[in-house]
Symmetry: C2
Subunit: 298 residues, 2 copies
C-alpha cells in the first residue's frame, strides 16, 4: 500500500493505471497530470484523483511516480519534476524501450531516487484516456528493469504494485529488455507498417478490392499498424540499434523465401513453412495465445 | 438445387463444404473422395455422403465437382476425372491462386465443362477434416472467376451455391484475382513466415523470453505462419510472378522505414505511421473487421 501515487501522462496506459488504482484502492492519495488541456478536463470529470495543472505539484509527497507518456517527453518531464521528488521515491515508467531513458536518468544523477523501469506488455490499437480500462493489465506480463541504486524493498514494492493490477512480473536488465522487445514487438510493428503501406496504395485501381478482401491475412496487420504513431516513432528512435540489427536478419530471411519462390524450390519453401508452424505450438504452450482458430472469425 | 455434388479433397475446406452441403441439404446426392486412407476412414465414420475409393467414380453423374485439394494435385486429379465428367458439369475449386490452374484446364481442352474457379476467403490455421465446420463460409467472401466457355446460368448456379453456404460472392477475372490476393493474403503470409523465423531462433539464448513475451505483436504473426505448409508452398509457386513483384515493393517500403530509423528522422516515421493508421478505419468501414480492441486480449 502506497501513501500517494502520481501518474504523469494519462492516455490509454496512464488512464488505465489511474482507473485500476482508484478501483482497487491501492493508495490513500492519487494525483495525475497530463499536459493536454482536453485530457485534463476529461480527468477532472471522470476521476476522483487530484488532477494537477502544474507538473511539479503532481509528484509532491508521492511514494510512487509513474511516467506514462511518450518516450520523447521524458527528458522535459524529468527536468520539471526532479527537484520536487520525495526522498526515496520509486520512479517508474511504462515505456517500450529503455536504453535512452536510462541514459537520461543516469545523466541527471538523481539522489535518493529508486529508478525502476516498468514495461507492461498491454495495450490496444486505440489511444487517449477514453480508451483506457482498469483490467488492461490483468494476466499480462510487466517487465521491470532496476537501476543499480534501487533498493530491494522498493523493487519488491513495485512488483507488488503490478501484481495488484493483475499482472505477472519479470525482472530483466535494461539491455535484455530492449533486445527481447525488439523481436517480440518492435520488429512486428515495423513489418506491419510496411505491409499495409505496400498493400493499400491509393494509386492502385484495386485499392477497394484489397480492402474488401482483407480477411485473408492483411486485416490482422492493419490492426497492429493502427497503433499510436507518436508512441511508435519514439520507440523506433530509442531502440534503433537493436531494431536495425533485427531488421537486417529479417531481410535475410525474406530474401531466402524470395529466392525459393523465384527458383520454384518446393523443398525449401516446405522446410521454411514447416519450421514456423512449430513455433505456434510453443506460443500456445507458454499461455501466450489460445488454440482457438483465429482466422475466419466474424 | 443440384442433383449431385462431388467433393475431391476433404481437408479443412473440403470437409467444411461437405458438412454444410449435408446440413443444408443442397443436393440429393453427395459424393466425396480423399486420396488419404485415414481421411477416407474418417469420412466414412462421420458423414452420410457416398465416400469413394476410386477418384473417377466420385464425379460420375455429378452436376457440381469441387476440387478442394492443394494446387499441386490438380493436374493429376483432372487427368483422372476428365473422361468421367458429366456433360455440362460445373467444375470448380477452392484454391488461392488461379493462373497456373487455368493453364492446366485450358491445355486439357475439356469439352462441355463449365470451369468456374471459386476462392472462398475463409480458413483457420488448422488443417484436416477434423478441423472443418459447416459455418466456415458464413459471411465470408467467395471470389468466382469464370472461363469464357462457362455459361451464364452455370455461373449463377455456382454463385447461388456459395450464397446457400452463407457467403457473399464476387466475380473477378483470373488475373485480377491473383493480383488482389497477392496483396491481401500472399504477401502477409510471406512476411509472417519471415518474421517468425527471425524472432524465434533456437540458437538465441533469449528464445524462451521471446515466446514468453510474444503478446506485443509477434503472437499474431505466429498464427498466420502456422497455416498449412503444403498448401502455401503451392500458392507461392503458382502465383510467383505477382508475389515477387509485390515483395519487391514491400522491401522498398521496409527500406524507407529502415532509413528513417537510421537517420532518426522523426518526421518521416510519423508520416509513415499516420498513413497506415487511416487504413484501419477503411477496413472497419468495409465490414472486414470489428472495431473492438484486439491487443490485450486474453
Amino acid at each position: 500500500m502506497f501513501n500517494k501515487i502520481s501518474i504523469i501522462g494519462c492516455g490509454l496506459i496512464g488512464s488505465s493505471i489511474l482507473r485500476a488504482v482508484e478501483e482497487k484502492k491501492i493508495a490513500l492519495k492519487i494525483s495525475a497530470y497530463d499536459k493536454s488541456l482536453s485530457v485534463t478536463n476529461y480527468l477532472k470529470k471522470n476521476f476522483s484523483a487530484e488532477i494537477c495543472i502544474n507538473i511539479s505539484d503532481v509528484v509532491k509527497e508521492s511514494d510512487l511516480v509513474i511516467i506514462a507518456s511518450p518516450l520523447s517527453s521524458y527528458k522535459e518531464i524529468l527536468l520539471s519534476i526532479q527537484s520536487s521528488l520525495k526522498e526515496n521515491v520509486i520512479l517508474t515508467d511504462t515505456g517500450s524501450a529503455k536504453k535512452e531513458v536510462n541514459k537520461i536518468i543516469s545523466n541527471l544523477n538523481l539522489k535518493n531516487v529508486n529508478w525502476i523501469a516498468s514495461h507492461p506488455i498491454a495495450g490496444t490499437e486505440y489511444s487517449g484516456p477514453e480508451a483506457g480500462f482498469s483490467s488492461l493489465f490483468k494476466n499480462r506480463w510487466c517487465i521491470l528493469s532496476a537501476d543499480e541504486k534501487a533498493t530491494k524493498d522498493k523493487i519488491k514494492a513495485l512488483e507488488n504494485f503490478w501484481i495488484k493490477l493483475g499482472s505477472k512480473t519479470k525482472l530483466m536488465t535494461f539491455e535484455d529488455h530492449d533486445y527481447v522487445l525488439s523481436l517480440t514487438s518492435h520488429l512486428p510493428h515495423a513489418v506491419a507498417y510496411s505491409i499495409v503501406k505496400t498493400a493499400i496504395n491509393n494509386q492502385d485501381k484495386f485499392k477497394d478490392d484489397v480492402i474488401q478482401y482483407s480477411a485473408g491475412g492483411l486485416r490482422d496487420f492493419t490492426r497492429i499498424a493502427a497503433s499510436d504513431p507518436l508512441m511508435w516513432k519514439d520507440i523506433f528512435i530509442d531502440n534503433s540499434e537493436n531494431i536495425l540489427k533485427v531488421l537486417d536478419n529479417y531481410s535475410m530471411n525474406l530474401n531466402e523465401i524470395k529466392d525459393a519462390i523465384r527458383n520454384k524450390d518446393s523443398k525449401k519453401l516446405l522446410e521454411i513453412f514447416s519450421s514456423t508452424k512449430k513455433v505456434r505450438k510453443e506460443i500456445i504452450e507458454a499461455g501466450q495465445d489460445t488454440d482457438k482458430p483465429g482466422f475466419g472469425r466474424k
